[in-house]
């Protein structure tokens, strides 16, 4: 087997193992919370008999280990359990929410990643001169503001004052692509502004680090233009650190957008989680937690795999 394939398979196996461990931690954490789910549902006035019945019905009288494996088995067959608060199937509710969140995060990623890398390359090209300072200054100030502040500023100008885009990001099934895009454009702008700086700074730093190498001097002595030196000779060697930061930011786009979703009343995973935490709806919290963990681990595995593939020493062994 090609050594790269071995490494990639190893990474994926490790990720799955990690996900299993996280599922145990989530389950234990939720189980350790004080209070009793049956009591929470039926209220203070419930009779002991009614509580016992409900516990049996929900399987709460079983030992924790049995409940954990039941939960795990359910997840593997696509059954995330039933919501306590409204008795609906969690998987069905989440799949729509997750689709919305991924739609928002996907567009934010499609715009922010190339933009951040391009700005990073430009900043490295004009290192220490005004374009570098302008790019760094602008992106650092957008990251320094809390995202809800950025959100309200964007809302004020683009939605209220100039009335270019809708202020509430309403999406529903059956909406056309362009309508959807128009609806989410403001939250996308806010998310782009929030994640741009990290990726841009990392690209810049990684490129500048590579620019110290002897082979960059070789490229300059070949008569290449500065931008071609950076793009052709420096960037391929700076991919690994950049990819790691990009993936962390993509993960943030999926699991960290709660505030932005609330600001724009967007029906995504974040709002869903916040709602059900408030209602002490533990099965939902568990399920959402596990999905977020899966996104994080999945993106980080992807970063590892891309870093491995970007390394010619691993790709082409002696």
């Amino acid at each position: 087997m090609h050594p790269v394939l071995t490494l990639v398979v190893q990474r994926i196996a490790l990720g799955l193992l990690l996900l299993l461990a996280v599922s145990a931690v989530i389950f234990l954490g939720v189980a350790a919370l004080p209070g009793d789910t049956a009591q929470a549902i039926l209220g203070q006035s419930a009779t002991p008999q009614a509580l016992a019945n409900l516990r049996t019905e929900m399987g709460l009288d079983q030992p924790a280990l049995t409940r954990y494996f039941n939960w795990l088995g359910g997840i593997l067959t696509g059954d995330l359990g039933t919501s306590l608060s409204n008795r609906t199937d969690i998987a069905a509710a989440i799949s729509q929410r997750l689709g919305n969140t991924l739609f928002l995060a996907g567009w934010a990623a499609v715009i922010s990643v190339p933009l951040a890398i391009l700005l990073g390359l430009l900043a490295a090209r004009y290192n220490g001169r005004w374009p570098d300072k302008l790019i760094s200054g602008a992106t650092l100030s957008t990251i320094s503001l809390p995202e809800f502040v950025v959100g309200y500023i964007v809302l004020y100008f683009l939605a209220v004052k100039w009335q270019l885009f809708p202020s509430v990001a309403m999406v529903f099934p059956g909406m056309g692509m362009m309508e959807r895009l128009n609806a989410v454009i403001l939250p996308v702008i806010v998310l782009v502004l929030v994640v741009l700086a990290h990726m841009m700074r990392m690209t810049r730093a990684a490129i500048l680090n590579v620019m110290q190498s002897a082979y960059i001097e070789t490229a300059e002595l070949k008569g290449l233009t500065p931008m071609r030196v950076i793009w052709r000779h420096a960037f391929p060697n700076a991919v690994a650190p950049v990819v790691n930061v990009v993936m962390l930011n993509l993960a943030y786009l999926v699991v960290g957008v709660v505030v932005v979703e609330v600001v724009f009343v967007y029906p995504g995973m974040g709002q869903y989680l916040v709602d059900h935490v408030a209602k002490r709806d533990l099965p939902v919290v568990q399920a959402v937690g596990l999905i977020f963990a899966a996104v994080y681990i999945g993106l980080n595995i992807m970063a590892d795999v891309i870093s491995i593939l970007a390394n010619p020493r691993l790709r082409h062994p002696k």
Binding site: Y215, T218, L221, K222, G223, H233, R313
Partner: protein, 544 residues
């Protein structure tokens, strides 16, 4: 008179230096140097580090490394002063009219790009020829430079080929766009001596066949004598002597050039036998997680107060031997006896006296010292650690040691950054001596130094040996150094001792094949040496 290609007049180059704890100041790197290269001729630039050789070489592409500035004079290339042309015109001449071969091809090739794409990049960029033609030319050059499988060589990545092959590939890269001038910046310095001779021959033949002019930069006069038509000797950025190669090496005019020609003239007569201080018995070693032995059944003796030189090329296992003796790498089999007792295999099991009596000096004095400690702290540490010296007693002993290494009073409070390369290595020697060792392992201690400075270090080591009776295990790849210092020699090749004995026996025929190859590969300071050796090898090969 041949047509002039490059004419440098009154060149002055400056840079800003940032000494620690002082305000930045401008320093002159090259001062009033004039030199010219005719079409198809080879000019050798020679001098110690800091002489301005590379700086002058790069100035012929109007390139200043780091903050280096060309501040005066004219650089006329193909009839125009390239200090006056704009950035676009400079890019048009770099890689087209002038190309560059760096000292370390391993670092100068981009690790992420296939060799072929890098080699033909200038051809395509400057529209010298199309891709198909450029690839064909690259394959032709690979073949001419003696690279294996020229047809498929370009498909490889830099990490997949050896250092010597990369150096040749870099030469092919420089010759590919048919330049007028190639700058060779120490192209063989980083190579093993047996590889150096092959690369040198390949470069010389390629220069001859393509009729290109070249600037050949090196610190090794014997090397440059093989390829250059004329030689410019530089020191501290100034011209010392300029003349035809033959005149420079047979009748040098200036005292400095004479010193360069006669360097390595230390006469060291080997000592008679003495009881062994170090006995290495049937030692075999391998690194953890690997499957082959780096050292194979090594047996060596080092008599007390004498020097055993361990010679070999990179990968021969000589530094691993040092790691085994110091206990950093416990041997798989075999024993090490030292001063009449057996040393524990692992470092952790050794007594403090075991540690004290075996000291080390390293190749890179720079990285072997803490840059934030003064010379006094660095030398004082073993005094405190092994002998518990404090205060005035310690300071007095430090001063004694500084006197022994011929450095004055002022040095005790200096930082390593304020010392020259030779002074740094002297401080490392003093630190080793401070422990009053019976054995010092010297790992390539003169390899990073200029020849004259290295000579000074060798003389110091010999004097210290006479005074203190300390034994040296002297690891080196340089046979001239071995001749200067050794009482016994062990020639290592691929983890085995190929030849071992008293110096005069090892260096006298009959030789085994490897030792013969090694000895004949050391450049000699005479013209035509390279051709002579290669001719001899061809005849020997034909005779077999």
């Amino acid at each position: 008179m041949a047509e002039m290609l490059l004419e440098i007049r009154n060149l002055r180059i400056e840079a800003t230096s940032y000494p620690p704890g002082e305000p930045p100041r401008d320093v002159v790197l090259v001062d009033d140097v004039s030199v010219s290269v005719a079409k198809g001729r080879v000019l050798g630039l020679i001098g110690e580090s800091g002489a301005g050789k590379s700086t002058i070489g790069l100035s012929s592409m109007a390139y200043g490394r780091g903050g280096v500035r060309l501040t005066g004079g004219t650089i006329t290339l193909n009839g125009r002063d390239i200090r006056l042309v704009d950035a676009r015109a400079l890019r048009a001449l770099r890689g087209r009219e002038v190309t560059y071969v760096a000292q370390s091809a391993a670092a100068a090739f981009n690790p992420a790009i296939q060799l072929m794409d890098q080699v033909i990049e200038t051809c395509l960029l400057h529209k010298v020829m199309g891709r198909a033609e450029a690839e064909a030319r690259a394959v032709m050059l690979f073949g001419k430079l003696g690279l294996p499988n020229p047809e498929s060589f370009g498909k490889r990545y830099p990490h997949q080929v050896s250092g010597g092959q990369l150096q040749r590939a870099m030469t092919a890269m420089a010759l590919c766009p048919k330049p007028d001038l190639v700058i060779f910046d120490e192209p063989t310095t980083a190579l093993d001596v047996t590889t150096q001779i092959e690369v040198l021959a390949a470069i010389k033949e390629a220069i001859h066949d393509t009729g290109v002019a070249a600037l050949y930069i090196t610190h090794d006069l014997a090397v440059v004598a093989q390829v250059a038509d004329d030689i410019l000797v530089l020191r501290h950025g100034k011209r010392v002597e300029y003349g035809a190669t033959e005149q420079i090496i047979t009748a040098p005019g200036e005292p400095y050039t004479q010193a360069l020609v006669s360097v390595r003239s230390i006469e060291h007569v080997e000592k008679t036998d003495a009881p062994a201080v170090l006995q290495i018995q049937n030692v075999t070693a391998r690194y953890q997680g690997t499957k082959f032995d780096v050292l194979k059944n090594i047996t060596l003796d080092l008599p007390a107060g004498q020097t055993l030189a361990v010679v070999g090329e990179s990968g021969s296992g000589k530094s691993t031997l040092a790691r085994v003796i110091t206990g950093l790498l416990p041997p798989g089999q075999g024993r090490i006896r030292f001063a009449g007792r057996e040393l524990a295999p692992a470092l952790a099991a050794r007594t403090r006296d075991d540690l004290r009596e075996v000291q080390m000096i390293y190749q890179m004095a720079d990285t072997a010292m803490n840059p934030r400690q003064t010379v006094g702290t660095i030398i004082g540490r073993p005094l405190e650690f092994y002998f518990g010296l404090k205060g005035e007693a310690k300071r007095k002993r430090i001063q004694e040691l500084l006197d022994q290494i011929e450095m004055g009073k002022g040095f005790i409070d200096r930082y390593p950054a304020e010392l020259s390369g030779g002074q740094k290595q002297r401080v490392c020697i003093a630190r080793a001596l401070a422990a009053k060792p019976k054995l010092i392992i010297c790992d390539e201690v003169t390899s990073a130094l200029d020849p004259l400075v290295a000579d000074g270090i060798l003389k110091l080591l010999l004097a210290l040996q006479a005074a203190e009776g300390v034994a040296y295990l002297f690891i080196t790849h340089d046979l001239a150094t071995v001749r200067a210092i050794a009482d016994r020699i062990a020639v290592m090749y691929r983890g085995e001792v190929r030849r071992y004995g008293a110096k005069t026996d090892v260096l006298a025929p009959p030789f085994d094949d490897y030792t013969a190859l090694l000895l004949s590969s050391v450049p000699e300071m005479k013209m035509g040496w390279l051709e002579g050796v290669l001719e001899g090898r061809r005849m020997a090969a034909a005779g077999n």
